[in-house]
């Protein structure tokens, strides 16, 4: 059986180095680019002929639109619809990235802590900036909620700071672990298909089931990532815990 982690290796396609900083175009970058192209192309093609009664093609982006609208209204309220384009882009990017990673010879960039972590840290910074912009100095209340005795400040403030900073970590770990584990299981079962010879159909059937499950997980994880990002954004903007 070949190396299980071979599928997660990053290979340089176009090596670029600026002042000892590696800015190479890798297979991960290529997959991200393909994901963006696929999302844009599919949305453009599906919405080419817009009718009042949606066709099958038009129903697909409309369903995604309704889903995101529902998430935002549930977590941020009607006021949160101004962040719609950002949340929509986030969901489609992650969902499509997860999904494309299931294709043979493809690369799952969502299984890398660096890629997802950068996205989550960006989201944390955005939450902080928006929170300060909307609530001003009142944003600092996040780290010391009202109604708590001042004596407890040395204990509560570090706890709240860690709690706030751990959000991108938990978001990242959740998505990355799900994607990595699914792909490793697929590869292990794929190896058994060859090594078990005539009884190889058993792990093949298992692989078939896991692929179907992974498709579900790909969409579910993108959904959870988006919902929790919206929840955190709502917490930062409104100040409610």
């Amino acid at each position: 059986m070949s190396n299980l982690f071979e599928q997660f290796e990053i290979n340089k396609i176009i090596p670029v180095s600026v002042k000892n900083v590696d800015l190479s175009f890798t297979n991960s970058s290529l997959c991200m680019l393909i994901t963006v192209c696929v999302v844009m192309l599919s949305l453009t093609l599906c919405l080419r002929k817009r009718t009042v009664v949606p066709t099958m093609a038009q129903a697909f982006p409309e369903t995604v639109y309704n889903l995101i609208q529902g998430i935002i209204e549930e977590t941020l309220g009607k006021d949160g619809l101004k962040y719609f384009s950002f949340v929509f882009a986030l969901f489609t990017f992650i969902a499509c990235g997860n999904f494309l990673g299931l294709f043979p010879y493809s690369f799952t960039f969502t299984s890398h802590i660096t890629a997802v972590g950068a996205l989550s840290v960006f989201f944390l910074l955005m939450n902080t900036v928006l929170g300060i912009k909307r609530r001003g100095i009142e944003y600092l209340r996040t780290f010391f909620p009202a109604g708590i005795p001042v004596v407890l400040a040395p204990l509560i403030v570090p706890i709240e700071i860690i709690s706030n900073l751990s959000r991108p970590f938990s978001l990242t770990i959740r998505l990355v672990v799900n994607m990595t584990v699914g792909h490793i299981i697929l590869k292990v079962l794929g190896g058994f298909v060859v090594s078990m010879g005539i009884f190889g159909f058993l792990p093949l059937f298992g692989d078939f089931c896991i692929i179907a499950f992974e498709m579900f997980v790909a969409l579910l994880q993108a959904y959870i990532y988006t919902v929790l990002s919206c929840v955190y954004l709502g917490m930062a903007v409104s100040g409610e815990e």
Partner: protein, 116 residues
């Protein structure tokens, strides 16, 4: 089947009441995922906080040149904030600890016990 005219006249009121209850009522569940997904979600909330606590402690130890005092203290604080994170996430689900619904149910049970 012939419907009673009273039922129809009350239908609009019932729809309005249902809408009002849906808007101001109990919080909707965050996700309808399975129990394992929920468990995993809470687990990562905890793990993330502990890791951040460890990272903070490690940095502070390096800055102040101490051996492992800050790692221990910050990891403990990380555990506490992990539990806090889990509690806050679980609060958004129906029938989770601390939601209005469960508090209400708990009060009901308590009242029943008292009356008995």
């Amino acid at each position: 089947m012939i419907k009673h005219p009273e039922d129809i006249s009350k239908l609009n009121e019932r729809i309005e009441e249902f809408k009002r209850l849906n808007e101001n009522g109990k919080p909707k569940p965050l996700t309808n995922t399975g129990i394992f997904a929920k468990g995993f979600l809470l687990g990562t909330e905890f793990l993330g906080a502990v890791l951040v606590g460890f990272g903070f402690g490690f940095l502070l130890d390096r800055i102040f040149g101490t051996k492992c005092v800050f790692i221990i203290v910050m990891m403990l604080l990380g555990c506490v904030s992990g539990v806090l994170n889990m509690y806050r996430t679980a609060q958004k689900w129906d029938s989770a600890v601390g939601t209005e619904e469960t508090n209400h149910t708990a009060k009901k049970i308590k009242n029943k016990e008292i009356t008995k």
